[in-house]
Symmetry: C2
Subunit: 320 residues, 2 copies
């Protein structure tokens, strides 16, 4: 059954059991060099090693597995140009149901190939939010498929919560848990997992200066619109949803924003020192740690590395 | 006590206990996408996440910890321009003894900084084997330090053997274990761990065409000289030693050699699909799997990703 209100502790425990056979329990890496640089003890939860290369596999899997049998039969649909598209296609394939994915016609070929590789059907449209939503509505009307939103969906949020739950299971109490924030699916799930399973931990989020809508939303008390999509952290450009924002407002005392140069410097350090391939969005929390050492000094700090689906050619340019 | 003959099973068990507090137990990663591509089940032992970013931390730590008290007091010495230099400096620092490292004067600044960061003392020399050996002999004569060779040393071999031992502990029986081969320290340790802890497993090595001295040595039955150092897999340019060659000759039925293009293609696939930063030397076994699918089809194949200390600027060029 799909969730109609904020996931409880029992919901998240049940979610974890439900999706466990379909996801990796990802490792947590540490680096004495990065610790020395940051002045605190850092734990990196490697969701870049997750199925489809991103934490999105968790929420999508739970979204699909939580459907009522009647809803499930007609398949699932979503619009996404990124990791959620592949995650939904894969989850549907695991469940043996169709997946209809609306993608902008300028989406990278590799992302389309990923969706097709998991048996998803692609519907192309213009690259505007309006075109995506209209196309998705048409696909849903035609197919009867169930829409699974990338973040504004309690089943998806419960799925993303399992990443932080695993951190608490593996590490015991930690002082600070960090996640980046785009639409807020991962961050709201992280808030809930922390409230239920590690209530002594403080959740701190991080966001690019050039995509600081969540920061401004916490200031103003309402969901602020996104800025033009210019940040290199291209997974964090969305604004919050009406399901994610209230959870984040209650559970996140601070969002630290960082510059593009700080994001790229942190990205390079993680690649070089931690030896993992991550998307630019992932390095935003670490950039925040380096920017505000007083907040973190001497603390045990965990952070979720959200995904590793990068275009190496593009990254090569960033680093040169 | 330092070992004077081929390490026994008990030696390797004792080595593992001895070095365990000073090394990471590195994770083993899998990728459904790479499995589908290779036609077999692949397990990647991530020694790129090891301390100092390479498996060399194991052998160096054991080399230092195995010294007699009298030898230990005067410190340790080696010549290396690569991972062994940092590994020895770190191991000596852990043991509270001096480390004297001979490095070519054109060694990358970052490698020198690494050694200095672990408290090692650097002695620079011309970049020829003769100059390195002469300088090392002088340093040893002056300081009384104990030389720890990067591979032709039974304590080092026993240390490197612990990587494969961990694979067998974590995965149980596997069909094929792979390692790249340079001087043969890792490969000979892998042969021993396999003989003692997973005797049903076949060890297959891989080597660049442009550095195929181990391949030729197996053919001729004697240690063949290295080719000029032109391969991108710059950790594999050394020739075998008189301690590593006999073990390898007895325990490695096949060495598969691969081209530079095959190495770079495999490197890119591992970066993109496994999301890990590895040195070009690491991708040589995976390149061999892709090159000879009939050897591996349907098998459970483990391979050791040996290190992750790469210059991102240089890598960016390889991928462009």
């Amino acid at each position: 059954m799909t969730l109609v209100s904020v996931p409880t502790a029992a919901d998240i425990v049940a979610t974890h059991e439900r999706i466990r056979p379909f996801i990796h329990r990802t490792p947590i890496l540490t680096s004495a060099g990065l610790d020395a640089m940051a002045g605190c003890q850092l734990f990196f939860k490697c969701e870049n090693f997750q199925k489809v290369g991103a934490f999105k596999a968790r929420g999508a899997m739970n979204g699909v597995l939580s459907l009522r049998e009647a809803d499930r039969q007609k398949g699932v649909a979503t619009h996404s140009s990124g990791n959620h598209a592949q995650a939904i296609a894969r989850a549907a394939q695991m469940a043996g149901i169709p997946a209809y994915i609306v993608m902008p016609n300028n989406a990278p070929q590799i992302k389309k190939k990923g969706v097709l590789g998991y048996g998803g059907q692609i519907f192309e449209c213009e690259n505007t939010l309006a075109a995506r939503e209209t196309t998705l509505a048409r696909v849903v009307a035609q197919t009867g498929a169930y829409e699974i939103h990338p973040f504004n969906n309690y089943d998806v949020i419960a799925g993303q919560a399992t990443a932080a739950k695993e951190v608490y299971e593996d590490l015991g109490p930690i002082d600070i848990m960090m996640a980046p924030v785009g639409g807020g699916g991962l961050l709201s799930g992280t808030v809930l997992a922390t409230r239920y399973f590690s209530p002594g931990t403080t959740v701190i989020a991080a966001e690019p200066d050039l995509a600081n809508d969540a920061y401004r939303s916490l200031q103003s008390g309402r969901i602020e619109a996104p800025l033009p999509p210019t940040s290199v952290a291209d997974g964090l450009l969305t604004s919050l949803g009406d399901k994610t924002f209230p959870i984040i407002r209650e559970g996140v005392p601070e969002i630290i924003t960082v510059s593009e140069a700080e994001i790229i410097q942190a990205l390079r350090l993680i690649w070089e020192r931690l030896k993992v391939v991550i998307e630019p969005s992932c390095s935003v929390p670490f950039a925040a740690v380096l920017k505000k050492p007083d907040v973190f000094r001497g603390q045990r700090v965990a952070m979720i590395l959200t995904g590793g689906n990068v275009d190496l050619d593009r990254l090569a340019k960033l680093f040169s």
